[in-house]
Symmetry: C2
Subunit: 432 residues, 2 copies
């Protein structure tokens, strides 16, 4: 027997017709350290009925007290309504929480979309008695459809009534932000400031339309929320978050298609009491932040739509960092390279020719290319190698492409995945 | 019974182990007007055994007398040996012919590769008694393998012995340059100069690794050869060819991966006697050249690896031509857009969000997007339309994406194709 009309039941079946595509759903076991492990945070996830699958699709993440915050958004010129509203709400560097839905991106929805994003904040704020400007709205899903507010508003109320700080609550929030993701993506780190433990945790979603370019000045629908109980100013948070994003989310691509909705949000409750104001504390915090962000970014690549493996492109010996990143990205976005990875085919010519397309100087005669640990090309000429052995090495869950340009000292890493028929199935064989 | 050892038999079976991948092969009926329809040209194609399939893989195209010539090459920084040699040979603007092989790109093969490319010219030149610098070498196929010269040299000799100017000869040459192409690609045009008929014809290959950026200042293995019996200087040919390439081959993408081997060659025999030196003759020649190049470019998109349809991206109302091209290309290269095209899914949000990624100003609130003839998005908001009707319209062999930016008067067109599972099969399910 199904739920009664109007009843909000997490995980209950619902026959609402608004789809994201059906796809098998794997909820992995929660790790010990979850999003609510840092002190001062509550969360919930409920099934509003935006998705037809019986999974949470509206989530609420709340800081017990006003948190300092830093938020980075997509740099796509077409931005979703929650990004327009979110930029205003995040500007002051203080937030009480995040209200998010999946299954609908609320993008390309005009003024009505903005009103709906604001309404999500308002309903959330009313439940926890705060100003609506202290709530960050997020949405992910199909572009160009109005939000079903008659489902979302009561779901936010229901989520507020279920807030808690357990692993289960964190798990429901993690599920509420997923679209074509097959697995939950979480990471955590801790460090000490003057012997005081500081905790950092994160959760993100992202599988397709992934290639974030986040910036104050970001491609994907990539949503990521980080919590910490550190005590830090918005300015410090923003600076460190931007640096961490460049080495993580901005270095991952599945299909290199920028989303209208990418959002990376860091909330600091301050409840550990440990201040991030000394050089030592800042260094520790920056390192922990980078670790968490890189772990999450790698999880996105590994769970890319249709992906069977993560492909790590490491370019070294470049003349400068811009060149290293441009060469790595040119390789990472090539469908031919990604298909070769899928087929475990040591067709290194595709890698070298992709590098030659980068809009920076690249000299094939100087470079050394290692594929899955074996040198396959050196100094403009093919190296002798066992194709079956390299092919076997490419069957692992992670394939490393290591290109040394021998032109300088700069390096960069980009994470991507293989391109499979499953990617085409996911993105062609269903109708909006 | 197979051919005797050493015997070169066009179309005969050969069990040589050097593969391109097996794939069904469709030789379409020749059109009436073929590459050898302009006066003064001979061609042949023979099976050397580079390909295992019983098809021509070495071709020879010869002008009866020294032709004026213009050649554009890839602007990938990694260039194949025949491009290195070809740039030198084409520099003077005079050529006697082209010697080409398929099944092996002779790219990333070092000094030995250059020697082999030169040897191809030398063997060809000896057969027709000309200087080897008057021969343009071309190769297409797998990167990083040395050419099997013991097969190629005798094949060039055999091709020279079979030269002719019939439709059959043109067809053999067309087949000799094909790799994953399913169909021959030919086009032709004629015009008059002072009541004198001038003929122009072209043949090209290209299906994967397509995204040419040809230039004196060009992505793909795209090979295209044009013949004309016009009488024109190398300077005029080069100027008009570059202009035509920008509106055709440089505006087509299958996987937007630049090749190391792209070559576009125009040979003018002068044998019509009609001089291209007046403004009127130049305008007529430019128009004919653009027609032939655009026809060939569209044939490449339609025969893209795994493609079921051609997708024409037309951007109008842009602030300038650079912006129009950048926005059109951003849409054309998006795997999400291409999968939606494959699935006949009117998921226009992918088109708008791709446009927002272009590195030029784009304002979604001003634009009007038509998909397969129906307005789906206007002024920042979804338009009302029948999704089943648009989906039905997308099932045609050509889908037109028409984006009016309402920001200026510039426009651009890019041709691409859908992304199918067959593309992944072709590029993942075989081993080099």
């Amino acid at each position: 027997m199904g739920p009664k009309p109007g009843e909000l039941v997490p995980w209950a079946f619902d026959a609402a017709p608004c789809p994201p595509r059906p796809r098998r759903y794997i909820a992995l076991a929660m790790k010990t350290a979850h999003l609510l492990w840092p002190k001062g945070f509550l969360a919930a996830g409920v099934h509003a009925g935006i998705k037809t699958r019986p999974v949470p699709d509206v989530g609420l993440l709340i800081s017990r007290q006003t948190a300092t915050a830093a938020v980075l958004f997509t740099t796509n010129q077409v931005v979703a309504a929650p990004v327009i509203v979110g930029r205003r709400h995040a500007a002051a560097g203080r937030l009480r929480g995040v209200v998010v839905n999946s299954g609908n991106a609320n993008a390309c929805t005009g003024k009505r979309g903005e009103k709906d994003a604001l309404k999500m904040c308002k309903v959330g704020a009313e439940q926890i008695n705060c100003d609506q400007h202290l709530i960050l709205p997020s949405s992910t899903g199909i572009i160009g459809h109005l939000l079903p507010m008659s489902k979302i508003s009561p779901a936010i109320v229901a989520a507020a009534a279920r807030l808690g700080d357990s692993a289960e609550h964190a798990g429901q929030f993690a599920d509420a932000i997923m679209t074509t993701d097959l697995v939950r993506k979480t990471a955590d780190a801790k460090f000490t400031v003057d012997r005081q433990e500081v905790r950092l945790a994160g959760v993100c979603k992202g599988s397709g339309m992934i290639g974030p370019r986040l910036g104050p000045i970001g491609h994907a629908t990539m949503l990521a929320y980080l919590t910490t109980d550190a005590l830090a100013t918005p300015a410090i948070l923003k600076k460190l978050l931007a640096a961490a994003a460049n080495e993580s989310f901005n270095a991952v691509t599945v299909d290199d298609h920028a989303s209208t909705n990418d959002t990376l949000c860091l909330l600091a409750s301050g409840m550990s009491g440990a201040k991030i104001d000394s050089p030592a504390a800042t260094i520790s915090f920056a390192a922990a932040l980078k670790d968490v962000c890189q772990s999450l970014a790698r999880q996105i690549a590994a769970d890319g739509e249709g992906a069977e493996k993560i492909v790590t492109i490491h370019v070294s010996g470049a003349q400068n960092e811009t060149a290293a990143k441009a060469i790595a990205r040119a390789i990472a976005v090539s469908p031919l390279v990604k298909c070769a990875m899928h087929g475990n085919d040591p067709n290194w010519g595709r890698i070298v020719s992709a590098a030659g397309m980068a809009a920076v100087a690249f000299d094939a005669d100087r470079c050394v290319l290692k594929l899955a640990g074996t040198i396959v090309f050196r100094a403009g000429k093919p190296a002798r190698f066992s194709a079956p052995a390299v092919s076997a090495a490419m069957k692992r869950k992670e394939v490393i492409v290591d290109l040394n340009c021998n032109a300088g000292r700069a390096q960069a890493t980009i994470w991507t995945c293989d391109l499979s028929k499953e990617y085409v199935t996911i993105n062609a064989d269903y109708h909006t």
